[in-house]
């Protein structure tokens, strides 16, 4: 495997980590949702630099060309992040529905109060 691939992967991982760091620092990304991204960037960085580990990993899973294993792994992590976000969106949608219902009921009872017809 050429050194160039490793260097490219390492730089990409470093950029990813730097962007995540800046997003947390400027409070545009909560720590809770940054952790999976940080693990992704960290794993890619480690395997890009530690070439013998990547070599034995790709040998174990039967991938002839080690850099492919790196990108397979990266895709896997992105898949995990996406799946995690799907669960987060589901939860947000649920909470959004509850908020809309609460607000609508609150408005209805507030209108009732202002008409003075004794609704509670």
């Amino acid at each position: 495997m050429t050194v160039r691939v490793s260097v490219f992967a390492a730089i990409a991982a470093l950029i990813l980590l730097a962007v995540i760091f800046e997003l947390i620092r400027s409070r545009r990304l909560q720590e809770r949702y940054a952790i999976l991204w940080l693990i992704t960037g960290g794993v890619i960085l480690v395997l890009a630099v530690w070439r013998s580990a990547l070599g034995s990993l790709s040998h174990t899973v039967g991938i002839a060309y080690p850099p492919s294993a790196l990108f397979v792994l990266a895709s896997l992590f992105i898949l995990i992040v996406l799946l995690h976000y799907s669960t987060v969106i589901s939860k947000l949608a649920d909470q959004n529905r509850i908020l809309a219902q609460r607000l609508a009921l609150l408005e209805s009872s507030a209108r009732g109060d202002s008409r003075g017809d004794g609704e509670t």
Partner: protein, 255 residues
């Protein structure tokens, strides 16, 4: 009130408490068993203390029990976690113009009588926030090994950051004055907030004082932290502390 200002506090007639509106914020998540006793104890300690229970989306009738006890109940429509619940309490304190807010856990582990000691530095004008610590002073608390390591680790790190000795960063037994209320109402960490709030207070140049207190073991329910949650806790708080080092100080205007 003929006592001079310098005497030790009397639980019920401390002249410094005159005209001071004080609020106990009690966050509660599924604490129906314990909440009644917590409220009764607070009432017995100080009848003038107003109490707000923030029900963090409980499913066991915590809000109903608290309302039956006759205190103000703020019911969150779903579980926000302790950070979101506490901040709701501080927003209530700000909106209703309280001078002093005291955090008391809804599970009964905090002894209301210790509030006398807890608010002492604030009444003396020596602190904007006080934290009840289980590790300083003559009273010792020995948590399980892993938890003790975690608590000590964060205590060390936070002590370095705030340049002040901190022994108990996980204690939820706290009191703040108006400045603290304003800060926490505007800015409060989302989950596992205790460690980060200590740093937050320092960064906004508020004064923090630790007060040795005794705490009880939980009177009902089980500890809220599982194994995986404690791993997440360590990672999340470490990350927040690290990134926080690179933020500029004071994001809230001085008041």
């Amino acid at each position: 009130m003929t006592e001079p200002l310098t005497t030790a506090p009397r639980e019920d007639r401390d002249p410094r408490l005159a005209g001071l509106r004080r609020l106990a914020i009690v966050p509660a998540y599924n604490e129906a068993e314990a909440i009644g006793a917590v409220i009764a104890e607070l009432r017995a300690f100080d009848p003038e203390l107003e109490i707000v229970v923030v029900d963090d989306g409980s499913m066991d009738g915590t809000a109903r029990r608290a309302a039956e006890a006759g205190v103000e109940v703020v019911r969150l429509p779903f579980n926000l976690g302790i950070g979101g619940a506490m901040q709701t309490g501080y927003q209530y304190a700000r909106d209703h113009g309280f001078d002093l807010a005291i955090q008391v856990d809804g599970d009964g582990q905090h002894d209301a009588r210790e509030i006398t000691m807890l608010i002492e530095p604030i009444l003396d004008g020596e602190a904007d926030m006080t934290v009840g610590t289980r590790f300083a002073g003559g009273r010792r608390y020995r948590p399980p090994f892993a938890r003790r390591i975690g608590i000590q680790l964060f205590a060390r790190v936070v002590s370095l950051i705030v340049r002040q000795r901190v022994t108990d960063t996980t204690s939820g037994f706290r009191a703040v004055n108006r400045r603290g209320i304003a800060l926490f109402a505007a800015d409060y960490p989302h989950d596992y907030p205790e460690v980060e709030t200590t740093v937050l207070v320092h960064r906004h140049k508020l004064r923090m004082v630790e007060v040795p207190v005794a705490m009880r073991t939980r009177s009902a329910g089980t500890s809220s932290i599982t194994f995986f949650q404690s791993i997440y806790y360590m990672i999340k708080v470490s990350l927040a502390l690290f990134v926080g080092l690179f933020r500029r100080n004071s994001t809230l205007e001085e008041r």
